[in-house]
């Protein structure tokens, strides 16, 4: 492997894996306790990739979906990157009944707008919970950009081609989530940019130091 210096070792990968486990476990428990959202998060999976291979990777992961809705949100702090929440396009409707306000008053707004808003709200909270808990364990606090929703006919059109500078590496954290009550599931990808890797290595070491 001719990865350059800014790659993470197998041991660091395992530490990160464990931290993500803990973070996502907390996120799921808090989502249930604080706002009554019951979500199951699978064991997260970590992959080191070159940034330009990212779109192909994400597409291959979600190939079972014919049409997708993606919620995209950037976060930055020391821990910096993008989060992509990928649903099957039909999920929006299911989620409305799960998260709807009950007020139902969206005036002239169409059902599409309501779907989009629901996806945005669910995405914002789910991404916020996962990224928030993860960065908290790593000793950081991050800021977020407003979420953006893309709905497309095929995953091909929806996945951004140039997220990061090509030639740089990226760490992809993947988890499958599922809202049990409605059988809605999807993928969450957290892609941390190259700039965060040095900081990440340091915080992973600091995390383990507590247990030496």
């Amino acid at each position: 492997m001719d990865y350059c210096l800014n790659t993470i070792s197998d041991e660091e990968k395992e530490i990160l894996q464990e931290i993500m486990n803990i973070a996502f476990g907390k996120a799921a428990a808090d989502l249930a306790e604080v706002i009554n959202i019951f979500v199951v998060l699978s064991v997260p999976y970590i992959e080191m990739l070159m940034a330009h291979d990212l779109p192909v990777y994400i597409k291959s992961q979600v190939s079972e979906y014919d049409r997708v809705s993606i919620v995209e949100q950037n976060f930055w702090g020391e821990f910096k990157g993008s989060a992509f929440l990928v649903f099957q396009a039909s999920a929006g409707r299911e989620l409305i009944s799960l998260f709807g306000d009950g007020s139902g008053d969206f005036g002239s707004e169409s059902i599409d707008a309501l779907e989009k808003e629901t996806l945005m709200e669910v995405g914002n909270i789910l991404i916020g919970a996962c990224v928030g808990k993860l960065s908290e364990l790593l000793g950081d606090a991050v800021t977020y950009s407003p979420p953006r929703v893309v709905t497309e006919n095929t995953p091909n059109d929806a996945i951004p081609v140039n997220i990061f500078e090509s030639g740089s590496s990226a760490i992809v954290l993947k988890t499958v989530f599922c809202f049990n009550e409605r059988n809605v599931h999807g993928f969450l990808f957290l892609v941390t940019s190259h700039d965060s890797i040095l900081w990440l290595k340091k915080s992973l070491a600091a995390f383990m130091e507590q247990y030496e």
């Binding site: 306000d101 709200e121 916020g128 919970a129 407003p146």
Partner: protein, 304 residues
């Protein structure tokens, strides 16, 4: 920088800034908020936000507050879906179409030194001007300039959405193509101005007759197209007959002439193998038959 200096900045910026504690009590209320709400900061600080703005205490707003307080995420209240959080008068009423200021708001966490979340902040931006431009642009893009009803472009995009939806949920969807009978004669006899007036009259009459869930667009010169979601063939015939009758009964006055027109209508109903194009084509074929069997009537071709 000192707190005093920061406060001076917060009081001069051109957006609202509110700080809330974990119990959603107001800790800070900048001058912009005081100015637009008419509530001075010393009267509101320490008070519960919901006491002053009870309409904000919705499940969704509360959920967002809780999420921000426990996860430290940001919540965004877009103008598009919320219009506004705080009911304020627009800065200037000139040229705006909104009775209340349109706002785009962001909520985020405030952390104390140990990184725990001690409260939250709310930023309120006035986007009335932007929303006005957007509304005008949308209108220009979707409406027909002469009649004020939807244009063909909007109809076509809506039609393909509806077809997709009805294919997925296998529901009814009907379409009516409408053409004014002998419209060329009106133009030739009374002039184009009169023709335009007739088009406007037919459009607004048709709009007043159709149901709230239907919508009608100007499809071509004197052609209109009406889309009826969740409507069976039988019910589409009822709508078609209502439109036909209301136009037949209508008398238009132009200068000293009273002008009466009739319309012909073709109905088509969505079946699984239909595309937007075939649905339009079927309605067009039915309309052609209506014309050839004497006009001032509707025709629905039974499925072959």
């Amino acid at each position: 920088m000192t707190l005093n200096e920061l406060t001076q900045i917060f009081d001069t910026v051109n957006f609202g800034l509110v700080v809330l504690d974990r119990d959603i009590k107001i800790q800070y209320w900048n001058r912009w908020m005081a100015m637009h709400s008419g509530i001075p900061s010393d009267q509101i600080i320490g008070e519960a936000l919901f006491d002053f703005f009870p309409h904000l205490s919705t499940p969704s707003f509360n959920k967002n507050c809780k999420a921000v307080l426990s996860f430290g995420n940001f919540a965004f209240f877009s103008q598009k879906l919320h219009s506004f959080l705080f009911p304020f008068k627009p800065d200037s009423s000139f040229g705006y179409r909104f009775e209340l200021m349109q706002q785009s708001c962001t909520m985020g966490p405030l952390r104390s030194d140990d990184n725990s979340i001690s409260g939250l902040f709310l930023i309120v931006q006035d986007v009335t001007e932007l929303a006005t431009y957007e509304q005008k642009l949308i209108e220009m893009n979707t409406k027909d300039a002469l009649t004020g009803i939807y244009n063909r472009r909007f109809l076509e995009s809506r039609l393909s959405d509806e077809c997709e939806r009805h294919r997925r949920h296998s529901r009814y969807l009907s379409l009516i193509m409408i053409d004014i009978d002998f419209f060329k004669k009106v133009n030739d006899t009374y002039g184009h101005q009169c023709g335009d007036m007739v088009l406007q009259a037919v459009a607004s009459k048709a709009v007043s007759v159709i149901r709230k869930t239907d919508f009608i667009a100007r499809y071509g010169g004197e052609e209109f197209c009406c889309l009826l979601p969740e409507t069976s063939a039988e019910n589409a015939e009822v709508v078609a007959e209502n439109i036909r009758m209301s136009i037949e009964e209508m008398t238009n006055c132009f200068e000293n002439h009273s002008i009466k027109v009739t319309i012909s209508l073709g109905i088509s109903c969505f079946v699984a193998e239909d595309s937007p194009e075939t649905l339009l084509k079927k309605a067009d074929d039915a309309l052609y038959q209506a014309k050839h069997s004497g006009r001032n009537r509707f025709v629905r071709l039974s499925p072959t």
